[in-house]
């Protein structure tokens, strides 16, 4: 029995060595996201906090609800605040769910920077130092303006994460820019690529008037692209997507995707770590909020970003 326990302890220590956090001694910060474990988009932010942690000589932990459950996220914020870190970086995935735990952290005297989801107004109400992110409605609206300029009148928004309020804001912004009411044009596609592809194919077959598609990230963009190709509409239909990946970059170069909305997630991970470190050490803080996006990636500027797509872009 003693041997077994020793072996288990040794294995645990070895495993702990494999799964270390982002850096050395110094201040400790925690980034809490709303994303499930498997959401590929957050890699860029994980890479960013690792680099920022190394550069600033601080420790940055990444924490998230493994299934994307926002109630679990609220618990994580509470647990993190109880450990009294030097700063918390958190997404406002659902203002009502997270309001209490984030304000409690602020009341404890923990500096908080909000990132990614949520609005500047919500960030101010929570008592955060600042917000680094992309206004989701505005990003959707900007995408819709581009589609409208290209003559689009009817659209489909492929939403692979419908339980996240920010995702609906993107679709709503797009609809408002086209001057249409958001209703059944927003597909609850789920994440399985075959199902996404076939749901989009079914929608396109039954809605022949669709002349614009908006997808909300690689999880919906890749299968939607396959459906569009199968329907013989690649390059014929206005296609915009949020976020970037290698496959999306290739499709932009081929003219199959017209634009990708880049919220530059690297900045959402990197800047808060740098700002919190300087705030903890010297008490200095930028005066405004930082809009990391939306930036639009098109055929014209794709060469600049594709090298780092999915890793730093």
């Amino acid at each position: 029995m003693k041997k077994t326990l020793t072996a288990i302890a040794a294995a645990a220590i070895a495993f702990a060595g494999l799964t270390g956090t982002a850096s050395a001694e110094g201040e400790k910060f925690v980034l809490i996201s709303h994303a499930p474990d498997s959401d590929s988009w957050w890699n860029t932010i994980k890479n960013a906090i690792k680099i920022a942690g190394d550069q600033m000589d601080v420790t940055v932990d990444y924490r998230n609800p493994s299934t994307g459950d926002l109630a679990d996220m609220a618990r994580i914020v509470e647990q993190t605040a109880a450990t009294n870190p030097d700063g918390i970086i958190v997404t406002i995935a659902d203002f009502n769910v997270l309001k209490g735990p984030i304000m409690d952290a602020v009341d404890r005297g923990i500096p908080v920077i909000t990132i990614n989801s949520g609005t500047v107004e919500q960030s101010v109400e929570l008592g955060a130092l600042m917000h680094v992110g992309q206004p989701e409605y505005d990003a959707g609206f900007g995408a819709g303006k581009r589609a409208a300029a290209a003559g689009a009148k009817s659209f489909v928004c492929v939403n692979h994460y419908i339980t996240n309020p920010a995702s609906v804001e993107r679709c709503r912004g797009f609809a408002d820019a086209l001057g249409v009411e958001l209703g059944s044009q927003m597909i609850d596609s789920g994440m399985d690529p075959s199902e996404v592809k076939n749901k989009v194919a079914a929608y396109l077959k039954t809605h022949k008037d669709v002349d614009a598609i908006l997808t909300l990230g690689p999880n919906s963009a890749h299968p939607t692209l396959a459906a569009v190709r199968d329907a013989g509409l690649a390059g014929e239909i206005m296609f915009g997507t949020f976020d970037l990946s290698g496959e999306i970059a290739d499709a932009i170069k081929k003219g199959e995707i017209n634009f990708a909305i880049d919220q530059q997630p690297y900045l959402q991970g990197y800047l808060p770590v740098v700002i919190l470190t300087n705030y903890a050490r010297y008490g200095v803080l930028p005066s405004g909020n930082i809009n990391s996006g939306p930036g639009f990636i098109t055929k014209d500027n794709i060469a600049l970003v594709e090298k780092y797509a999915g890793e730093f872009r």
Partner: protein, 365 residues
């Protein structure tokens, strides 16, 4: 007093005690329903049939494995995580490590079937419920998948498999399309639609039969044959019905159960490989909730959660119902999130109906 094994049973009664009766009725009802509400939407055109056919085939692949395992009296909740894991193994080996795609596929099958055997071995040796052991593996495999992909590629979506698979002998077996010339001829004859604009002008809207569908049919036929026409099939029923009694009459219950766990893992790997070859990428979140979808198909198909009773044909029909409902609501123009409501309702109705029929026939209280 006559031996009940020699008693004459009417054809009607024999039909009524088939596990798949409820699924057959359900399938008819679902098709009638969608003919009425979406008949003119293109749902039953060749293109529409391919649309829900592919989704149903996908469910059928994992339902066959889950069905045989459930009849043997066990569960595998790690199926979904196994799908994600298998896909990432193929992508890492072929894209990141430069292995030939055929070798990457074989490696994925070997690793995943071995993990299936480990699942079975742990269930047998520890005596723990398979629900608990495979629930643990659900987390272990999902975590490993994410860790592996991030550690090796710094991403959780790994692309480039399609390019690596060009000219690969095994890639076609999972991601290819057969009868292309036949379908082109159908289009030329005007029997099926062809594209009239865009990059595929003149080509048929249905390119052919995807290998995913071929795999689904092959696995259903194999599973049905194994269960109903072989001694091993009797062993599966016996192991799930009363394992102790089965042991007394010489059934190798442990071996049967371990082999069924391996077969379930095999089906999950087929699913993953077809998906990776179709989309040219693997992602750490693939297969989420698939274990429950497989169980839903099997239960709609008339199997008992307690084991010892069920049918592969029933499970396949359950998969068909699942696919038709999910896609049919899109063709019908319904709010897309409603398919979950619809599916949950069908699940409850199917179980109530199956239970009622079984009690009526067997005289159970």
């Amino acid at each position: 007093m006559t031996d009940e094994r020699l008693k004459q049973v009417s054809t009607l009664r024999r039909a009524m005690i088939r596990p798949e009766l409820g699924a057959i009725c359900g399938t008819i009802l679902v098709f009638v329903f969608f003919f009425m509400i979406a008949g003119d939407s293109g749902m039953f055109s060749p293109e529409g049939i391919q649309n829900w056919g592919v989704v149903s085939a996908q469910f059928a692949i994992i339902a066959v494995g889950a069905c045989l395992l459930m009849i043997a009296g066990e569960f595998d909740l790690s199926v979904g995580s196994m799908i994600g894991f298998a896909g990432v193994v193929i992508a890492i080996l072929s894209v990141h490590m430069g292995w030939p795609v055929w070798l990457s596929i074989i490696a994925a099958f070997v690793v995943c079937v071995a993990l299936g055997a480990l699942n079975g071995f742990l269930v047998i040796k520890t005596g723990l419920p398979s629900f608990i052991v495979t629930l643990a593996f659900l987390y272990i495999l999902r975590g490993l998948t994410i860790w592996l992909s991030v550690m090796t590629t710094r991403q959780t979506i790994i692309g480039g498999v399609k390019e690596a698979a060009i000219g690969d002998p095994l890639a076609f077996l999972f991601g290819g399309v057969i009868f292309k010339d036949l379908f082109q001829w159908f289009a030329d004859m005007g029997w099926i639609d062809a594209f009239t604009r865009g990059s595929r002008i003149g080509q048929p809207v249905v390119e052919g039969v995807p290998m995913l569908v071929v795999w689904a049919l092959a696995l259903v036929i194999f599973g049905h044959w194994l269960l109903t026409k072989t001694r091993f099939g009797n062993w599966i029923f016996a192991s799930g019905g009363d394992a102790q009694a089965a042991r007394y009459v010489g059934v190798p219950v442990n071996r049967v159960k371990i082999l069924m766990f391996m077969f379930t893992a095999f089906c999950a790997t087929v699913f993953a490989t077809c998906q990776v070859m179709e989309f040219g990428s693997a992602a750490a979140d693939r297969g989420l909730l698939k274990e429950f979808e497989a169980i839903i198909c099997v239960v709609i198909g008339g199997a008992l959660l307690t084991g010892g009773y069920g049918s592969v044909i029933g499970a396949a029909l359950g998969a068909l119902i699942f696919g038709v409902v999910q896609q049919g609501l899109f063709f019908a123009g319904a709010e897309s999130s409603l398919f979950r409501v619809f599916l949950g309702t069908i699940l409850i109705l199917a179980v109530i109906m199956n239970t009622y029929i079984r009690r009526m026939i067997t005289g159970e209280r």
